[in-house]
Symmetry: C2
């Protein structure tokens, strides 16, 4: 390595980002070091601005620069239709797809004995409050179909049964554009069970 | 996406780093946004410090926080043995391996008609000056064995012939720990030609 503190520190911190190992952290650091003014300072500034601006939406748990977030504050969104997701990354994925015109509830995790996540650790009370205040027609459970996701959906389904609200969950089956022979047995079984008249 | 400028800008700039596509840039941005004070601000600060501190060594072309760089300034390094590399990433790789106790010359590229890199674009005059000033016994050409690397080594070899200096190049052959059946024909041919008594 260079032996100089600032460069090593940059490589170390970049290497802690998800998706960047030591090798790609060095490549990224070099790319930044080669263009300190054109690339590194703008990125540093963007990080500082984002760190200062970011806040958690007290309504839904989304990360945004306003509270309530842009989605909760948007009058064009249907706040009677709440989609429950595990994290902000899932929310971003649904927004990119543009398939949900309602609002969200970001749990911040799933029930997991292994990682010690219990019902009290989920950001779910705001959802119950919203439903109790009236105006929510339907809750879509859009969690992953891992054991933890399924457990969490089951628990939420039970908790939501006492409210007068329709509860649905995302469909399971063959991904669009997906080949059957690479799918696991569970997905294939779900796809067969979810079959529809052609 | 979030629809908020600061977050989008962060994702965009992260996505321009080598090795990070849009997907991994979003993951990295989310990891930083979740811990703005514990993760994002320290990284931003490290970038600013590195951007302020980094300079190019006027002797060898290395990136460091001092000029001359720590390697050129180190009295324990053999400045009579100069290893020519294409870029700072290659220098870092050799330093990690700890296999070169001399100094370096970082060319900043290789001769390439395609990308318009000619002899005048290579950071090589400081090497000729160092040799002309005396004290350099050997120059090791440690460029990659691409067409451009081989062309550059050939050109350098010719240019260095007029100096009283020994010129060598890194050995070619089977990588340590490498299987033969995944190697290309050129490497296999080089390995056979470079055979030694067992």
């Amino acid at each position: 390595m260079s032996g100089r503190g600032e460069i090593d520190r940059l490589v170390t911190l970049l290497g802690r980002l998800p998706g960047l190992g030591p090798r790609s952290a060095r490549r990224a650091a070099l790319a930044l070091l080669r263009q300190p003014h054109a690339r590194m300072l703008p990125l540093a500034e963007a990080m500082e601005q984002a760190a200062r601006a970011v806040r958690t939406c007290s309504t839904c748990g989304n990360l945004d620069t306003t509270d309530p977030c842009g989605i909760c504050a948007d009058p064009a969104r249907d706040d009677g239709l709440v989609c429950v997701v595990e994290n902000v990354g899932d929310l971003w994925a649904l927004e990119r797809a543009g398939v949900h015109r309602g609002v969200y509830q970001v749990l911040g995790g799933t029930l997991s004995a292994l990682s010690g996540m219990g019902p009290d650790d989920l950001n779910v009370q705001p959802l119950f409050d919203r439903i109790a205040a009236g105006g929510v027609r339907e809750v879509i459970l859009a969690l992953g179909t891992t054991v933890e996701g399924a457990t969490t959906m089951h628990w939420l389904h039970e908790r939501l049964a006492r409210f007068d609200v329709q509860v649905s969950r995302v469909g399971q089956g063959v991904p669009v554009g997906g080949a059957l022979d690479v799918l696991d047995d569970g997905t294939l079984a779900a796809a067969i069970m979810a079959r529809r008249p052609a």
